[in-house]
Subunit: 460 residues, 2 copies
């Protein structure tokens, strides 16, 4: 009942968390999140290295394919102008690959925005938490100052006015002691004061890194989109130089895609390990960074019935002391005011201060309760482990699709380009050259070409 429904690891987290991990000597590594341990770092580096292996294999495959295509094709009879068979198939497979790449780019944009959403949810939760923590500090400071001020001015005035009746002075002194005790109890409640860790700073750092990550992905996606579109344009226009430039660019984007895939895979695996049981890791890390007692951290990070409020004792004592001050002031009002009318003004002012302090006390109780901060913690985890991880998986899918599409395009482009006819200035005004290799490929089984310029084939 205490805490609202919190964070549950998703199916993706479970799935990724169950993948086996190994270090550089291929010994199995436990899949608990431990980024400071060398073995675990090696396991993540190995995941990233798999992408490097994929890049190497696909480069070798492309090289072998192209060398075989260049060197081992059957020798053409000299003067024969017929292109090799399968030209249409080559161009169409290149176009299909580029379209798959474009679909992948769409998925990449979605994944990038999803990851960005998740991370911004994380930093907004951190900002909320920072707001709550600094509100507690501020409120405690305000209450303590108000009580000190009341003790210094009104209670001193009251004691001076009542100096003739010792039992009334004793009551006023009692109220002073209680007020001082409350101020002392309250000061111990500002538990985040002097803690070297600032959620605001963490949120700013996270936003800063995320901004550049987002921008880098947008640039990569735009680069790949431009490469796809200009390659399609090059094929349509049969422009050799454009296709050559785009082949080189495709190679570059292929390397970038595999590189980003390695980063994404390692991050996704690490994130899944973190997300499968984040509480322990976060508890230990926060305890190291802040030096706060584990009572307080358990209370805020777990926030269930089993963990009692570590401020309960202090809050109850403060509350009782405030109630006692109130009854002492009421007693003074009954006893002293008829005899010392000048005591009424400081008494009323004290009661007013007490009322305001009691209102602030309720606000402090609300701020100190684990619900608010635990909800921020849950929102941060959901942002990171649901939205950001989901976005990361979409980015992984984008990298996979684009690596496949670019490898296919790199295999097909030089072959498609070899099919281009030499430039004919008189025909270059028309924009629909795309059709020629296809048509030629289709006509291949027919008798060898004869030169009838200007004639065309009709299908009927």
């Amino acid at each position: 009942m205490g805490a609202p429904p919190g964070y549950r690891p998703s199916a993706w987290v479970h799935l990724l968390h169950q993948l086996p991990r190994a270090d550089f000597q291929l010994r199995p590594v436990p899949s608990g999140f431990a980024p400071q341990e060398q073995e675990y770092q090696q396991a993540l580096l190995l995941v990233a290295a798999l992408a490097g292996l994929g890049l190497g294999l696909s480069l070798i495959f492309i090289a072998v394919y192209l060398i075989r295509f260049c060197c081992c094709r059957p020798p053409e009879p000299p003067g024969a102008k017929s292109p090799p068979p399968g030209g249409g198939c080559v161009t169409w497979s290149c176009i299909a690959a580029l379209l798959v790449g474009c679909a992948g780019i769409g998925i990449g944009f979605y994944g990038n925005s999803e990851t960005s959403d998740g991370v911004s949810q994380l930093s907004s939760a951190l900002l909320h938490a920072n707001h709550t923590l600094s509100a507690i500090d501020h409120l405690v400071l305000e209450m303590v100052e108000r009580l000190d001020e009341a003790v210094r001015t009104e209670l001193t005035t009251l004691e001076e006015v009542l100096v003739q009746r010792l039992e009334l002075v004793a009551a006023a002194r009692g109220a002073r002691r209680q007020a001082e005790a409350v101020a002392q109890q309250l000061q111990a409640l500002a538990f985040w004061r002097g803690v070297p860790l600032s959620p605001l700073q963490v949120a700013e750092d996270v936003s800063f890194v995320e901004e550049y990550r987002w921008l880098a992905y947008v640039l990569l996606l735009l680069l790949e989109l431009l490469v796809c579109l200009f390659t399609l344009l090059g094929l349509a226009k049969q422009s050799k130089w454009l296709v050559i430039v785009m082949t080189v660019m495709s190679l570059l984007v292929l390397v970038l895609s595999w590189g980003s895939m390695g980063l994404e895979a390692a991050t996704a695996v690490g994130l899944s390990d973190f997300c499968s049981s984040p509480d322990t890791y976060i508890l230990n890390l926060t305890q190291e960074e802040t030096g706060l007692s584990s009572d307080i951290l358990n209370y805020y990070f777990l926030c269930n019935q089993a963990v009692s409020n570590p401020f309960q004792q202090r809050l109850t004592l403060s509350q009782r002391a405030l109630a006692n001050i109130h009854s002492q002031l009421q007693g003074l009002e009954r006893e002293a005011v008829p005899q010392f009318p000048s005591a009424q003004k400081p008494l009323l002012s004290l009661e007013e201060t007490l009322n305001v302090t009691e209102g602030d006390f309720h606000q402090l109780v609300a701020l100190l309760h684990c619900r608010g901060l635990h909800k921020d913690y849950g929102a941060a985890l959901r942002g990171l482990c649901e939205d950001a991880l989901e976005g990361l998986l979409f980015l992984l899918l984008f990298s996979l699709l684009s690596a496949g599409a670019l490898a296919t395009a790199l295999c097909s482009l030089p072959r498609a380009w070899a099919l281009f006819p030499p430039r004919n200035p008189s025909a270059s005004c028309s924009g629909s050259h795309l059709s020629e290799p296809l048509l030629r490929a289709r006509l291949e089984p027919e008798p060898p070409p004869r030169s009838f310029p200007g004639c065309r084939r009709r299908p009927h």
Copy 2:
């Protein structure tokens, strides 16, 4: 300081909110959100009707274009087999339109998921609020039961034990009166008990409607995707029947697109009016539905320094009464236990009950504070007015793009189809017929055809 940073209307809300509105007599209508007023309903219907006007105009345009194309083309010389000029342009424009439609479908999927995200944020905020409200009810019930039980059993036992000393019985009676007063004060704090409005029910209704809305859009998007892909296939295969079926389907999807555009535009305009100043409308609606006092609703919906906690008085009184009970029990322990050892057991049990009640009281203070519920309110507004509205605008863009693309495709398809050659069984095995109308179009300026079957044109 009291509330975390809340909801601010976005630039889109301001932009849409500033558009002029008019009723059916074209008199201007103020843009405040008032869905129960007939004028405002008329203004929204008029916005939706604009899409109907757009549909009508585009249908008339398509009809005029096609009639002009069918009836007014120059008479062909009998026996001439040359297709009309511009065939390649027609096919390419059709393909470009369909690709734009596909890009629009991608945008539509994104917008649909964004809207769904926003609405699920709204219902999760409602569930959170429901959790808080029922936790307050539950906690109050528990505290009142515990106090009643203590009054019935331990305090009665205590009075029976102390019956010989009247001043001690009076102290116990005082504690009983205070406990009964606390129970009474607490019962008045369960402000949501008996309120006919259940946030859970609202969340379930919203999720139910959203599920069907999401499904309807996914079906529309898939239908349009299928129409685009099969039309492209029909053009590539030059299959007349496929193109005819897809032309009819395109017409259907065009009507659906304009219809959804009307719905989206009216919803976006209404939502922007709601989102530009939601507090007043929500306050009035909740007051009507729940009958709660405006103090309480203002406190939760505004939650700023200007609105004081309406439960402050009751909380302070309860807190003082609890502190008084505590000091009375301590007095009894000092006075009575040496004389009546059998009083110790009920006294200890009462103190234990008091401690638990004070702990629960702090939790109740935290639950009643406006921070939690106001944060849910802010999250619900952000879900509806940021994510859902943004998604709706993406869906509007999708509808616009798809309406434009389908209208262009509907103009081009019959012309492209008229260019298809009659079926030639011997050539139907090849998949790349797409090139023929283009090639023919490109060759158009050349001399009239001569029949050299099997010859082909070479560009050099």
